[in-house]
């Protein structure tokens, strides 16, 4: 079942652990993203899989074989580097053919496979160009073609879209997913962009300070973040600190009903709720009253900052074609009880 398995994988530099106890099993054909801020160990993990960094401890198993100590040129994995690392002195076709040449594939077959692969990434007419004559998006596709043409068991992508501008990045996300699904290659992508990870992965691995903190499908990750860090890193999140009093949550003197049980009187708690789960109502008709401090038009939606007695709260409302309430308007915030999450704060952390 599991195609690629990482067991207790760690990389320690002196007394700094770049990655600690990474346990992950990836099924064949799956698209898994390693998500985290820079320095969280995601790239180190990818490089250990690629064989470019030697793990301090732990094992990597690919299709039942232990490849932990194998050199990168024997692993046969396809890697797309952040800088693309195309060979500047070779044409697009020569770049793509390089891996096949190393595998001693006959010229005729090589040409055919290169042509097929360039067709797949929509670069059929660019075979004789040099990388410098291509745009960023085209270079990126050459890098993908070069990695995929060797039919690797696993494709590793290191921040593949970070060097592209916003519009192109979105296009390439779909493109990447399309190619991956077409070829069916097991793929591991490293990214710091949560939107990218959520949109194209089957599963997302969130990493913090060298450790994995949550492995889940994108929508579950978004709805049920395991730690406060994940809730703030993945999507936007409102967090209100308060205390549990008389079966309700009390924040700045306002009681907010909750369905949670098992909390002791006076315990410090945090309420978190996503901006798009909150509705704007006329003043006095919601759970919490406030004043609109700011509004941003994002095209598909509006993002409001509402000043309330409990602090500033972000509210996102879909753009229904009408101009919504302006800055300074008194409003009330309302939300379904099911969309709020209440967590007890650790003792000491509340102070």
């Amino acid at each position: 079942m599991s195609f690629l398995t990482l067991e207790k994988l760690s990389k320690i530099y002196g007394d700094f652990a770049a990655a600690r106890d990474i346990d992950l099993s990836v099924a064949k054909g799956e698209f898994v993203s390693l998500l985290g801020p820079s320095g969280c160990g995601k790239t180190t993990t990818l490089q250990m899989i690629a064989g470019l960094v030697e793990p301090t401890t732990g094992t990597i198993t690919l299709d039942g074989r232990d490849i932990t100590r194998q050199t990168p040129n024997k692993r046969g994995l396809g890697i797309v580097f952040q800088s693309y690392a195309l060979f500047p002195h070779m044409t697009v076709a020569q770049n793509v053919a390089f891996g096949l040449e190393m595998r001693k594939v006959a010229k005729a077959e090589r040409d055919e496979r290169v042509a097929t692969m360039l067709g797949l990434v929509h670069l059929g007419g660019f075979a004789e160009r040099y990388p410098r004559q291509l745009s960023g998006g085209q270079r990126q596709r050459v890098a993908i073609a070069r990695a995929l043409v060797i039919q690797p068991p696993v494709l590793l992508l290191d921040e593949p879209l970070s060097n592209l501008d916003a519009k192109l990045r979105e296009e390439m996300q779909f493109e990447l997913r399309r190619i991956q699904q077409r070829v069916g290659t097991t793929t591991i992508m490293v990214t710091h962009d949560q939107a990218e990870a959520l949109s194209i992965s089957d599963r997302v691995v969130v990493m913090e300070q060298g450790r994995m903190t949550q492995v889940d499908a994108p929508y579950r990750l978004y709805e049920n973040p395991a730690t406060p860090f994940i809730s703030s890193f993945v999507g936007k999140m409102n967090r209100l600190d308060g205390a549990w009093r008389k079966g309700a949550m009390e924040i700045a003197g306002i009681a907010l009903p909750a369905e949670t049980s098992g909390l002791s009187e006076g315990q410090a708690i945090a309420l978190s709720i996503r901006p798009e789960k909150i509705a704007l109502k006329p003043a006095g008709q919601g759970r919490l009253d406030g004043t609109i401090a700011n509004r941003f038009f994002l095209g598909g939606s509006w993002l409001f900052t509402v000043e309330t007695a409990a602090g500033a709260i972000l509210v996102s409302a879909p753009n229904d074609g009408e101009e919504p309430a302006r800055e300074g308007t008194k409003v009330a915030l309302d939300w379904a009880l099911a969309s709020q999450r209440i967590e007890p704060l650790a003792q000491g952390a509340a102070a």
């Binding site: 690629a50 064989g51 470019l52 050199t71 990168p72 040129n73 692993r75 046969g76 994995l77 396809g78 890697i79 580097f81 952040q82 800088s83 690392a85 195309l86 060979f87 500047p88 002195h89 390089f98 891996g99 190393m102 595998r103 040099y130 410098r132 004559q133 070069r146 990695a147 060797i150």
Partner: protein, 285 residues
């Protein structure tokens, strides 16, 4: 309307540099060319008559042609050895971590701070019949070899002096290289050696070629090293010119040889540069 943006501005700007170039390079060269056509008489010296006799003499005399051939051969050999040693040296240097990289870069550039004459004397002490090299050979039970005043000594010292001029351009080229391209080649199944040969080498070849150009040009016109390590008999072009000027006092003949060396060097380097440029345009843009 726009003051100071007149057509003369560029000329004013290049003026000082141009004057320096004219006064210190073009003028002496023109004078040397004119001098090379003057008639020379052993009893009366330079005469105000013109002749092609010096050129004819140089091109028809095996003595001169032999020295030119040696100059060319030794310069080419030095260039080749510098490329073979310098390119890996630069690669190793680029792979070092920081404190060591700075230290070894200094070790490589350091010799440039010492006068060529001093370094040539150093080599003559090492390579002499009772020098360190021969002492070591004898201590190990070998016969002593004659190194000083041979072509070998000249090439050894030239390589030593010229190596930084090869290492630095190659190093610069390596700096521009994406360190991940090598990893990319490995991931595609290339061994370390293949990755170096197919991916790294072609990208630094431009640096190697420009390094060769510098090394060849400087070696072919080297004076102090062949003068001190080649001795009185083993001459190269520059020492020959010196002898004609200072010992024979035949300035027109010296000028002729200098001009021929200059022209030959120019032709070789321009042809070489052309090769580099076509390659560069093709591969690296």
């Amino acid at each position: 309307m726009s003051v100071g943006r007149s057509a003369a501005t560029p000329f004013w700007l290049v003026g000082p540099g141009g004057l320096l170039f004219l006064g210190l390079i073009v003028l002496p060269l023109v004078l040397t060319v004119i001098l090379s056509f003057h008639v020379y008489d052993h009893t009366t010296g330079i005469k105000n008559e013109f002749t092609l006799a010096h050129y004819a003499a140089v091109f028809s005399d095996d003595y001169y042609l032999g020295i030119f051939w040696r100059t060319l051969r030794l310069a080419a050999l030095t260039t080749l050895i510098c490329a073979v040693i310098g390119a890996p040296e630069a690669y190793i240097l680029s792979r070092m971590r920081d404190p060591w990289r700075s230290v070894f870069l200094l070790v490589i550039i350091g010799p440039l701070l010492v006068s060529v004459v001093v370094r040539a004397f150093g080599w003559s002490m090492l390579l002499g019949s009772t020098g360190l090299v021969n002492q070591t050979l004898q201590a190990l039970g070998f016969d002593s070899v004659r190194l000083l005043y041979t072509e070998t000594a000249i090439v050894i010292a030239l390589v030593h002096v010229m190596l930084p001029f090869m290492v630095i351009p190659v190093w610069t080229a390596l700096q521009k290289l994406d360190p991940m391209v090598e990893a990319a080649a490995w991931s595609l199944g290339a061994s370390h050696f293949t990755a170096l040969r197919r991916v790294v080498l072609p990208q630094v070849s431009l640096g190697m070629l420009s390094g060769s150009l510098i090394v060849f040009g400087l070696s072919a016109s080297a004076f102090a090293i062949p003068g001190l390590l080649g001795g009185r008999r083993l001459k190269m072009a520059a020492t020959l010119v010196y002898d004609e000027y200072m010992h024979e006092l035949n300035w027109p003949l010296g000028a002729t040889i200098a001009i021929i060396v200059l022209a030959a060097n120019l032709v070789i380097m321009l042809a070489y540069n052309r090769v580099i440029e076509t390659r560069a345009r093709k591969a690296l843009g």
